[in-house]
């Protein structure tokens, strides 16, 4: 049986305590708001993308549980300086990881530290916590301003 220390690892607790790229930015090119109406988690994701398609700035703002906040923080840290194409690739890989469709130890990927979320499929109620900010980011790239986990 799993222990939730696997879920609440130090890196997650640390990002929850001190989220990176946290707070609204004044100038941005893309923005979306994401809601998990079931638990009240709500985040805004802001991106500033230059004409070459490079993510120069990515910030998030809002509130939620440790899992959602750490996931948002780690997402922004991973995507800063990446191209839109790379961001979309990471979105897909992260999704595969969360849904246990990828073995991060065997399959090739560019997830880096994001593999800390690999055990979350064991907590079905918490999967949406980890993916909320990612879906919000994807929405912002697609110019969809309101994202919800409930369709």
């Amino acid at each position: 049986m799993t222990d939730n220390r696997e879920l609440y690892q130090q890196v997650i607790l640390e990002h929850n305590r001190k989220p990176r790229n946290f707070g609204k930015i004044e100038t941005y090119t893309h923005r979306a708001h994401g809601d998990n109406p079931l638990c009240g988690d709500a985040y805004d994701v802001y991106l500033s993308i230059n004409t070459d398609g490079l993510i120069e700035e990515i910030n998030f703002d809002g509130h939620g549980c440790a899992i959602s906040k750490a996931s948002a923080s780690m997402m922004t840290a991973s995507l800063k300086g990446k191209t839109v194409e790379e961001a979309e690739g990471l979105f897909e890989e992260f999704h595969q990881l969360i849904m246990k469709k990828m073995d991060p130890n065997k399959d090739t990927h560019k997830l880096g530290k994001l593999t800390v979320f690999s055990g979350i499929w064991q907590y079905p109620a918490r999967v949406k916590c980890a993916t909320l900010s990612w879906h919000t980011m994807k929405g912002a790239l697609n110019h969809t301003s309101e994202i919800t986990t409930e369709v």
């Binding site: 049986m1 222990d3 939730n4 220390r5 879920l7 609440y8 607790l13 079931l38 638990c39 009240g40 988690d41 709500a42 509130h63 939620g64 549980c65 440790a66 899992i67 907590y123 109620a125 918490r126 916590c129």
Partner: protein, 409 residues
């Protein structure tokens, strides 16, 4: 009568789910406000119906149908006596509390509440007693008024009284808050309303099974509750309404069982309560509800109420000693439901971490988002106790909360 403390281990034997291990540990089930566990007698009653009766009610002349009908109507009689209704015709079986409230808003509301009329509810309502009235307001142009509560989670009675005006055509409120545990002074409110000829609907989902409910003594006009929060099955509930109201109300669903005669020119509706029970009902569910009533009667409310008072006091005291923990809902008169928040920890993280200790609590907004907004909270964790819970389980909860604090220290 059984005394609760000496017999609690015997009572726990009645609930097979309590024998389950969760993540290798004994289940500590503290989510009773969401749904209670079911005693073996309720499970057996449902199994008996599907095994031995398994026939439709009210239409067959054959042996099994007559037997099913007898068990079904016996359950109605048991429920009627359980809440001290004047007659069992005042007991309408529904899918649950939500369905019962919607029956009132769609039938009574649509017929007797007009544009500009007001419906008075409170800040501590469950979504079922908000949205059903909002739908009516949208359809009819009536207005929803909301009575405020204090920080402790009690109704502000002066304000409540001020909100009752000449346009108030319905007062609908919760007997016991599913979030705060507050027991509202519904009898006083019903008296105030009746002085002005306003009918009152009580959402009794969290009340029935916790303490005796006497609808005649309360003098409520409508009373809604669910079987599954009082040790019965899901998918079945009750609308009690005074016969004078039920007789005035039109059916909102047409079909079998709710008619006396049908022709293409004219249909004559059945008498109450059947005119509100279109289609084959949840027969097994109703029979299971009857068994749940019997189970509660057999334990007796005297010991149930005493046990819940003891647990409630111990729970409040124990949670109060946890540093950084705040209880949401500190009404003087409450049931053993404790919503709480912890400094720097989101309720969902509390729920996941204490689940690892086998402790089941609810986290989230508890279908009461306006109440969460009232307290400026996105969510709370909620531990809700029932007659099979022990003080030892309060201790296990507290230890589990300390583990949460250790993870987030």
């Amino acid at each position: 009568m059984l005394t609760m403390e000496t017999n609690i281990s015997k009572i726990r034997q009645d609930f097979p789910a309590l024998k389950r291990l969760v993540r290798g540990r004994d289940l500590v089930y503290l989510d009773n406000a969401a749904t209670t566990l079911k005693p073996q007698s309720v499970i057996d009653a449902i199994t008996h119906y599907y095994t031995d009766l398994s026939s439709n009610v009210h239409r067959g002349v054959h042996f099994l149908s007559e037997e099913s009908t007898a068990r079904f109507e016996e359950a109605r009689e048991k429920v009627s006596q359980f809440i001290s209704a004047r007659q069992s015709a005042e007991i309408v079986f529904t899918r649950g509390t939500t369905d019962a409230i919607n029956l009132v808003s769609q039938s009574y509301g649509k017929t007797f509440i007009k544009s500009g009329d007001e419906i008075l509810i409170t800040e501590m309502e469950h979504h079922s007693n908000i949205v059903s009235w909002q739908i009516l307001c949208k359809e009819k142009g009536c207005v929803l008024k909301v009575a405020p509560i204090t920080d402790e989670g009690e109704l502000v009675m002066d304000e409540f009284e001020k909100l009752i005006g000449p346009k108030t055509k319905m007062i609908a409120l919760v007997y016991v808050s599913n979030v705060l545990g507050t027991i509202n002074p519904v009898k006083d409110i019903i008296r105030l309303a009746h002085e002005r000829n306003i009918p009152v609907l009580i959402d009794g989902a969290q009340a029935v099974g916790q303490f005796p409910v006497d609808v005649v003594d309360l003098d409520c006009d409508f009373f809604a509750f669910s079987a599954h929060k009082m040790f019965g099955p899901t998918g079945v509930g009750v609308l009690y309404a005074k016969a004078e109201y039920l007789n005035l109300m039109p059916p909102i669903q047409g079909g079998g069982d709710m008619i006396l005669s049908v022709s293409f020119d004219k249909t004559t509706y059945n008498t109450i309560p059947y005119k509100f029970e279109a289609g084959t009902p949840n027969i097994a569910g109703v029979i299971g509800l009857g068994a749940a009533v019997e189970y509660i009667n057999q334990l007796g409310f005297e010991s149930i109420v005493q046990h819940e008072k003891d647990i409630s006091a111990y729970l409040t005291q124990s949670l109060g000693e946890v540093e950084g923990l705040k209880i949401i809902g500190r009404a003087k008169n409450k049931v053993p439901i404790a919503s709480f928040v912890l400094d720097h920890v989101h309720p969902h993280d509390i729920g996941t971490i204490i689940d690892e200790e086998g402790v089941a609590v609810r986290t989230g907004h508890h279908c009461a988002q306006p109440l969460m907004s009232r307290y400026g909270l996105p969510a709370t964790a909620r531990a809700s106790f029932s007659l099979y819970n022990t003080k030892e389980e309060v201790d296990i909860l507290i230890k589990a909360i300390e583990k949460v604090k250790a993870v987030f220290k």
